[in-house]
Amino acid sequence: MVDETVNPTVPAAEHEQPVEVAGYWKLVWWKFRKHRLAVVGGVVTLLIYLVAAFAEFLAPWPPAEVHSRYTYAPPQPIRFQSRTEEGRSPGLYVNGYDVQIDREAFRRTFVVDPDLVVPVRFFARGEPYRLLGLIPFDRHLFGPVDPSQPMYLLGADRLGRDVLSRTIHGARISMSIGLVGVSMSLVLGLVLGGVSGYFGGAIDNIIQRVVEFLRSIPTIPLWMGLAAAIPLAWPPLRVYFVITLLLSLIGWTGLAREVRGRFFALKTEDFVTAARLDGVSEARIILRHMMPSFSSHIIASVTLAIPTMILAETSLSFLGIGLRSPVVSWGVLLQEAQNIRSVATAPWLFWPGVAVVIAVLALNFLGDGLRDAADPYST
């Protein structure tokens, strides 16, 4: 392609600049690398997916472990002690709680007791689990030395469950719903957008009307209507798939537009005409000649579509018509924060929201950088 043509005025190969011989994907990578925020976004996104993959190891507790003694326990800061004193060995520790029961309000109040020391360590032994679903293991990245002691780095919720552990486990559902949903919409978008852009004419007209229709109706009321019809008795996994399906049924339109636009732009390019004159079949023209030249654009659009899906799932679950507990997703966790009074007593319930914002921000930066890099020839 373009990068293989040698400029005849350049006398010898040793004068070639690296940029002149670099392939398309190399140019994309160079351009992407220059976009600092996008690189940071990419790294953060990768980290979040790693967190989701190793949630059991990273979370100190299983997500559903209930401790009725510690309802709404506040976060404990990690402290470090360097000297040995009173029989304590040096190391990391958190302070325990002094629980007082307020007789008038019938509420527990927690006071961090500086005398109560709960030693914590890396690779602490805890609840056994299977790493990546395969390897049996019982070490957690961080946890109390004695597993019966409390450790709430980000506080506890209404049932005394650890907010940190739940947020880490929530990443799995929330981040994967974005990926699965986008893959489904990608299939729809590629097929319908491709058909629309490649054939044009009446088919294009019909598909475009459908796209316009779907874009012109407010999505959240529609999702609410469809999601509310999911029977309460369904198992969580089925609800998960139906919700993803609903999200992608409406979310494919953006991708379809992008694909259609690319097809329209490429259809009249010389290399496509050349391939056609060579007698290449339609399927091969699409798959071998046209697809590679816009796959980078598709990757960028896909990346930008994931955060929309994540936000949609979070919103629906927050309203109580998406995923429901016992499933742990960020939206389900934020449901706990729905009541302003419980948030006022336990503002740490907002932590899953922080996770949503970081994830969406990272994916948006990444997608933005990818979109810019997808056209490495423009300056």
Partner: protein, 328 residues
């Protein structure tokens, strides 16, 4: 212009029909039909429904007839008599419940739209003219944050802050004394005083998007030859900027109404639930949870219909502003 108008109007008809079919589909989704729910509800209250009324109702909704007949009875009732069916939960005709809430939803959505424009226009221009300056980065970053925070979370945080630090609630659209009062000048003023919180909450995402669009469009135009020409002729920078490139870059503001408006109406639903505003959102959610399907379906349909009509009006505006559109 007239031909364009007629064409757009004709395009709208299939869209409206499709919306009504989707809404009817949503009404039909839960198991059981209108009458079995009604009988069950009445039985739960200890009442018995007499068989004459039952037959009358069955006839009215065509429940023993095929689905398209039911659809036709439902839609023709709406189109010809303004009859949206009956709400079980409220035991009132749906049409009595929806109009005021729909109106407030659209007041909220349109004022947010204006707010979004008012913020993003100057910010976008500034960002483009002073590209890569500190304020440009700040605006860009804030814009991204605005995109990344879910509306309902922002509403929650605002509520938390005002509850915790100012000890007052920000929910609602009216002060208590105006909630039941008939419309008056002072009630409208009261509405405006309450409107700004949901407006900011709703507007963040759209503002962020429009700033990006404005900045990108203006950047494309700033270095075109006609700008250089005008500058060479000695036009002052401000006049030059506002008179030419900004005007060209403004087009997307009107043309994006088509997708900004559905987003706003959609976002308004969820923000209203969190802030308990008397708009469609909370009632829709309640109707869905209690399977009050005629109410829920009517809300979804009317929200969509009004959005489509709003988009249509914005398209007409755009065609009037920019003659190129009419001939496309």
């Amino acid at each position: 212009m007239l031909a364009y108008l007629v064409r757009r109007l004709l395009y709208m008809i299939p869209t409206l029909i499709a919306i009504s079919i989707v809404s009817f589909f949503i009404i039909q989704l839960p198991p059981g039909d209108y009458l079995s729910t009604l009988v069950a509800n009445l039985a739960a209250q200890g009442d018995q429904i007499d068989s004459a009324r039952l037959t009358a109702l069955r006839d009215r909704f065509g429940l023993d007839q095929p689905i398209w007949v039911q659809y036709w009875k439902w839609i023709s009732g709406i189109v010809f008599y303004g009859d949206f069916g009956h709400s079980f939960e409220w035991n009132r005709p749906v049409s009595q419940l929806i109009w005021q809430r729909l109106g407030l939803t659209f007041v909220l959505s349109f004022s947010t739209l204006i707010f979004t424009w008012a913020i993003s226009l100057p910010t976008g221009i500034f960002s483009a003219v002073r590209k890569y300056s500190v304020p440009d980065y700040v605006a860009t970053f804030l814009g991204f944050i605005g995109l990344a925070i879910p509306n309902f979370l922002l509403a929650l945080v605002l509520m938390y802050v005002s509850f915790k630090y100012f000890n007052q609630s920000v929910g609602g659209l009216f002060s208590p004394q105006y909630i039941e009062a008939p419309w008056s000048w002072s009630k409208a003023v009261d509405l405006l005083a309450h409107l700004w919180v949901p407006m900011i909450v709703l507007g963040t995402a759209g503002t962020a998007g429009l700033i990006r669009i404005m900045r990108a469009n203006l950047l494309d135009d700033l270095h075109k030859p006609y700008v250089e020409t005008a500058r060479a002729k000695g036009l002052s920078e401000r006049r030059l900027l506002l008179k030419y490139p900004v005007r060209v870059a403004l087009n997307p503001f009107v043309s994006t109404v088509g997708w900004v408006l559905p987003d706003l109406v959609s976002g308004a639903a969820i923000v209203s639930i969190v802030l308990s505003l008397p708009t469609t959102g909370p009632l829709l959610l309640r109707a869905l949870n209690s399977q009050d399907m005629y109410l829920a379906g009517s809300f979804i349909m009317m929200l969509s219909v009004l959005t489509v009509v709003g988009t249509f009006i914005s398209d007409l505006l755009l065609a009037w502003l920019d003659p190129r559109i009419r001939y496309r």
